[in-house]
Structures are given as structure tokens and as C-alpha cells.
């Protein structure tokens, strides 16, 4: 029991600490939180998209449709599980499981805080790249095993798309990794925590370093990651107006919900990678500009303040609910919801908690921005056509990312280069 609790006083991840038990606990927590985040994400997506489209979105299940994801989940779980007669049963059964597994496998190395990660692999980012490219396998399995035209075409599109955008994405990642080696010690790292710590040491996020190289690399990654997760405007594999539902046309009920869960989990996962690589991961904003004890304190109050704000929004919303008998239950529900959030806010203000939670909060906030962007793009842009998508991937993103990589390398070794050049000239 002792070593079990001892971990809490250590300052490393469970992986480094070597405690399998804690690793399992972390995994369970991450799985639970990610699932809840996905549910919340579906609600947010529907709400935000609705508001962009001058609609209200879900309003009936719970106050402002807050319980809609639960209702959806219940519906999906109780739906008939249809297995097409002509399908390749084994593969058809396995595809959603595979996609789901891969989507969550990424979370193993994601650092939500200095110590909040399952493990800190020294090849972390390589692991992410490797694992995320496996998800295409599940999509192909789903499309092929359905034995139907639309899924097959969706799968074909998906495989081509994911493979080609992985190249640009990988090159963009390499340029970020390259930046880690450009510190005083000259030792680069592939570890996710290492990369964040390198940004801390460098005193700036990589999106701003070597301006505009970091920014361009980040933008390339940001585009490629939308394509990787099959989201608008690159949602060709499931292009609704063309392929009905793409690779998961034949899926229904629980199996379909696994795909759905995996898609959102992958979105959150890949956004976390972008945050880690370019946006300083779990670091708080302006570590240099606004340093000092009082600023530290001010920033540590942020999580609590945000939750207080959310609680206030709930309470105001509850107060402004129409005063009619039909809305009574909903109003009470919103009051309660606000109260729960207020309670969380109160907990977050506690001195012991607020230091430990800060990392996670900043990380989550940065990921949330990406989530909003995902929804925003979906609400705004038309969809690319298949050949245009390939053009963009191979003819635009790939050359630019190559150029960025080379330039980053050149800028990184400019001192050595000039020495060498000088030597040659002499």
C-alpha cells in the first residue's frame, strides 16, 4: 500500500514511476474523461453548429438539450444491431473495435500535465504517428467488409486521403521536433513531455519560434489533421451528399456509435498532439512576459474563474427560462447543473487543487479552441473534391512542409553553417 500512495508525492508519470497499477488507473480515468468529453463534444457541436446556422439546436432533452448526448447514447445502445447478410462478418465486427482502439491508443502518450500522462515514452511523437496511421486500416476494413458500393468508395477515398496527408503531417512534425534540438545543449527529443519542456526552456511556443516557420508548420499540421480525422472540409470518406455515409453506411446502432466515438476521440487526440507540439502543451500562456509570483497566482485562479463563469451562465439561463409549467423540470435541472459547476469552481479555487489542476486546465482550454475550430470549419466550408484534395495534399502541403523543414534545419545550423562557410572561404 505504501508504494501505491507514495506515487502521489512523486513528480513523474506512472510509466516512469514504474507502477502498473497507477498506469491502469490513469488509463481508466483518461478513458472515462475522454468518453465524457466526446459526449460533451457532440452536444457542443450540435449547439454551436446550430447557432451558426441561426437555429437553437437540441432544446428538449434536459435544459438546453444538455442530456441529449445521454439520450443519443441510450438510443444507439438499444438499437437493433444490423449485420448485413453479404458482409464479411468477422471483419465487419472487428473494424469499429479496431478504429476505436487506435483512437484511444494515442492517449497513452499525451501529456495533460507535467505528471499527468500514462507514460512518457522517449519516442512519444513517433508512437503517435505510427498509431494514428493505423486507424486507416479500420476504415478500410469497414468499407471492404460491408460489401457495398458506398462504403467501398468511402474506404478507398479514406485510405488515399489519410496516407497522403500523413506525409505532410509527418514532415511538419519533424520540423517541430527539429526545433527541440536547437537549444543550448543541442539534444533533441521525441518525448511528448520533452517537447513541452523544451518549449518551456526555449521560453516560447514553437508556433512563434523562427517566425514564420513555426507558424507555417503548425498551419500545415492543422490542415493535415482535419484531413486525418475526416472532418469537413475534408470529410470525403463520409461525404453525406455523395456517399450517403461513406465507410460506415452499413453500420448501425452500437457499432456505428463506436465509429462515432472514435472519430471524436481521434479529433481530441490529434488536437492534443498539435497543442503539445506547437502551443506549449500544458504550459500556461505568457510564461516569460507575465512571470513572477503574483502572475502565477493570477493564472492559477483561471480554472476556477472559468467554471464560476459557466456556473453563472447556467444560473442566469435558469432565471431567464420561460416561467411556464412545462419548463419547470428543465429550470430546476439547470439550477442544479449550475450548482454543480459552482461547486467544481469552488473546489478549483482550493490552493492545493489549483496548482495541480492548472496544467490540465490549460491543456484542455487549448484543445477546446481546436474543437471549436473543427466545428467552425464544418459550419462554413464546402467540401473538397477527391482530386482537389489530393492536389492540395501532394502539390501544396507537401512541398511547403518540405521547404519549411529544410529552412528550419538551415536556420538551426546557421551558426555552424557560417563557421563552415567561413572556413571554406578562408
Amino acid at each position: 500500500m505504501r508504494p501505491f500512495l507514495d506515487y502521489l508525492h512523486s513528480n513523474v508519470t506512472p510509466g516512469e514511476y514504474g507502477s502498473y497499477l497507477w498506469a491502469v488507473i490513469y488509463i481508466l480515468i483518461i478513458f472515462a474523461v475522454a468518453s465524457v468529453a466526446v459526449m460533451l463534444m457532440t452536444w457542443l457541436e450540435r449547439k454551436i453548429l446550430a447557432h451558426m446556422q441561426v437555429r437553437l439546436g437540441p432544446m428538449r432533452v434536459g435544459p438546453h438539450g444538455l442530456l441529449q448526448p445521454i439520450a443519443d447514447a441510450l438510443k444507439l445502445l438499444t438499437k437493433e444491431d444490423i449485420l448485413p447478410d453479404e458482409a464479411d462478418k468477422m471483419v465487419f465486427w472487428f473494424a469499429p473495435v479496431w478504429v476505436m482502439m487506435i483512437a484511444f491508443l494515442n492517449y497513452v502518450v499525451l501529456p495533460f500535465g507535467r505528471t499527468h500522462a500514462v507514460t512518457d515514452m522517449n519516442i512519444g511523437i513517433l508512437f503517435v504517428l505510427g498509431v494514428s496511421s493505423l486507424s486507416v486500416l479500420g476504415v478500410i476494413m469497414a468499407g471492404w467488409s460491408s460489401n457495398s458500393h458506398y462504403p467501398l468508395m468511402g474506404a478507398l477515398r479514406s485510405s488515399a486521403q489519410m496516407v497522403s496527408y500523413e506525409v505532410a503531417m509527418g514532415l511538419a512534425i519533424v520540423s517541430a521536433v527539429l526545433m527541440t534540438s536547437l537549444n543550448s545543449t543541442g539534444t533533441g527529443t521525441l518525448s511528448m513531455i520533452g517537447i513541452v519542456e523544451a518549449q518551456k526552456a526555449a521560453g516560447r511556443w514553437y508556433i512563434f519560434s523562427m517566425f514564420p516557420l513555426g507558424l507555417i508548420a503548425f498551419l500545415i499540421f492543422a490542415i493535415a489533421m482535419i484531413a486525418e480525422t475526416n472532418r469537413a472540409p475534408f470529410d470525403l470518406p463520409e461525404a453525406e451528399s455523395e456517399l450517403v455515409a461513406g465507410f460506415h453506411t452499413e453500420y448501425s446502432g452500437f457499432r456505428w456509435s463506436l465509429f462515432f466515438l472514435a472519430e471524436y476521440a481521434a479529433m481530441i487526440g490529434i488536437s492534443s498532439v498539435a497543442v503539445t507540439l506547437w502551443l506549449g502543451g500544458y504550459l500556461r500562456p505568457f510564461p516569460n512576459l507575465l512571470s513572477g509570483h503574483s502572475w502565477d497566482l493570477a493564472f492559477s485562479l483561471f480554472p476556477g474563474l472559468v467554471f464560476t463563469g459557466m456556473a453563472l451562465m447556467c444560473l442566469i439561463g435558469a432565471a431567464r427560462m420561460p416561467k411556464i409549467p412545462q419548463m419547470k423540470v428543465q429550470t430546476i435541472g439547470l439550477w442544479l447543473f449550475g450548482a454543480v459547476i459552482a461547486l467544481i469552481a469552488a473546489v478549483l479555487f482550493l490552493p492545493g487543487v489549483r496548482e495541480r489542476v492548472q496544467d490540465i486546465f490549460w491543456f484542455a482550454a487549448k484543445v477546446a479552441v481546436f474543437m471549436y475550430l473543427y466545428i467552425w470549419y464544418r459550419g462554413t466550408f464546402p467540401r473538397y473534391r477527391f482530386d482537389q484534395l489530393m492536389n492540395l495534399g501532394w502539390k501544396v502541403l507537401l512541398p511547403i512542409s518540405l521547404a519549411v523543414l529544410i529552412l528550419t534545419a538551415l536556420v538551426g545550423i546557421r551558426q555552424d553553417l557560417s563557421t563552415v562557410l567561413m572556413g571554406v572561404l578562408r
Partner: protein, 383 residues
Amino acid sequence: MSNSNFYDDAPVEAPGKTFLDSTEMVLNMGPQHPSTHGVLRVILKLDGEKVLGTECVIGYLHRGVEKIAENRTYAQFNPYVDRMDYVAAVSNGLGYCGAVEKLISAEVPKRAEYLRVILTELNRLASHQVWLGTHALDIGAITPLFYTFREREEILKIFEKYCGARLTTHAFRIGGCQYDAYEGFDREVLAFCDAQDPRLDEYEELLTTNRIWLERTKGVGILSAEDAIALGVTGPVLRGSGVRWDLRKAQPYCSYKDFDFEIPIGLSGDTFDRYVVRIQEMRQSLRIIRQAVAGLPEGPIMAKVPKVLKPPVGEIYHSIEAPKGELGYFIVSDGSTQPYRVRVRPPSFVNLQALDIMVRGRLVADVVAVIGTLDIVLGEVDR
């Protein structure tokens, strides 16, 4: 409705070859496909994603409107025409009433004609808004649909106030209009026009300059002017191909002579041109509405038409510029109270025929873009 010939073209399976060696795939799109605008079924012959040929299977919504007409009196058939192109019901009514009026040589009062113009042009706006929303939705932009339907709602409210129905309006009667403009009609219509201009700009901001939209529409579904004329397409599809022909100008009916407006045309006949033509047409419609409201004369709204219509023996063809193209009615009268034959010349039906030539050799994604740009309504295709 069958497609026997279509499958006959499939390559004969050579001995020792499996289906894996075949490069062609037959994809059945519709009738329950998200982007076939109703119950259109298109069978695509594909090589990978490339379209080798199409076959439209239509008739799922066939209600035999022409047969119904032979069993109704002239006035009774009027509500049925609303059900053909149900997003432009008012235009259908205008065409039918105009045809019967010509048959009985009735002179429609000026005020009624102006009211008809206002409502028909509002309907053109509504129809184009439905087109824009669904077309953008097909290409993947899901938001314009809601913006366009928001504005369409305003038009439908005006319709509801004017004639008591939103979609199947039955707004006009043979010889004029049943309803006079309600109190505040002109004010509301003008307010709508003023609100519409910035909204149109908003749509254009979302789409016209958007690089994805441009890539998806430019050079897609090109229809040359020669092909367009040979295929008999009309309306924005014809004008998008560069033929400046609009029945409102070429053979003005219903006081369109009085109004000053332009006919926008496209240059290359691609999807983007048709998009621009329709957007410009919406602006021209606003212009016409403003002029018509400003010049709305006083007076009767109904010509003196006998209650029981018995047109003289004869036949008539009357066509109007509906939002989708030339909507014609060919009516044969045998002197009785019921038409002997009513033939509807549906613009959507004829325009749909151009689908094959427009998508051959292009990608699957272009098929939905082209179906969207043709702006078909299956109620009218199948009648």
C-alpha cells in the same frame, strides 16, 4: 423506368475472369439518396470515381397530372398545378391561368397583373433560395441552407398573408386574382426587398470567393451553348451557357414589358456561371418587385369571366419563364367545361436530360454538384 439497356453495355465476362478484373462499377444513387433532391434515381457507371455514363430513372413521383386535368374543370385544375413544381407554386399557377385566359381571350386587369408579377418574382426568389441552399449543401457547405430558408420564410409569410397558404398557394384564379393585396402588403414587400440585399451579399461572402467553392464549381458540368439549345434546356441553365434568352423579355407576358430589368448570362456554361446567373437573377427579381410595388395601380383584380368556363374549341400553347426555365401549358379545348388535353412542358424534366452530357467523364462528386446546379424539382419532372 427500367434500365435493361444500361446493363447490357456492361462488359461481357470473359472466361477465366472474375469480377475483380472488371474495371467498371455500377453505382445506384437514389431514389433515397441525400442529394438527389427527392426521388431521382441515377444509375452511374463508374470507373473508380470517374463517371462513364449515367441513366436517370424517374417517375417515382408520377401522379398523372395531365390525366387529372382531363377530369377536372378548368377552375378545378388550378390547385393541382401548384403540386408540380412545389417550390415555385405561384409560377405554375401564373402559367396555367395565363394559358386559360388566352384560350378564353380574357383581359386581365392591370392591378391583377402587377400583383401577379410581385408574387411570381417573390416566388422566383424563394425558388432560387431553395436551390442555393440545397446546392451548397450538396457541395458540402451546410450553413447557407439555413440562411436561405430564413429568407424564404419571410416570402412564405407574405404568401400566407396574401393567399392563406405557404407552399401550395393557389394564388391566382383564371381571369385575375382571388385576393387583393392585404393591408400593408406593399410595405412588407419593400421591407423584405431591403432586407434581402445584404443577405444576398452574405451568401456571396460565404460562397462566391471561397476557394473550395470555386474549385468545386468552376469548370464543372460545362454545357456549351450549342448543346444547351439542342437539349432544349431553358432558364438559368440556358443563360449560364451564354444564351441571353428570357421569356419575360423575348415574349413578355403579364405586364413584364413595363419593368426594367436585365438578363444575366454566364460565359462558360459551368456550374459557377449558373450559380452567378441565379444570384444575379435574384437581384433582378428584387428590382422588378420594387418597380411593381411602386407602380401598383388601383382597380379591379378580376376580369369578367363566366363562372362556368367553356372555352371555345381550339388549342393554345402558353409559356412563362418559371424559376427553372420555360414552363409551358398546351391546352386543347373541345368546348366543354373540362379541358380535352393539358400538356405541361416541364422545365425540370427537359433540363434533367442534360445531366448525362454534363457529368460524363467527371467524378462522382461532380454528379451531385451538377444535379444541384440543374435545379430540378422531382414533382415537376415526374408530374
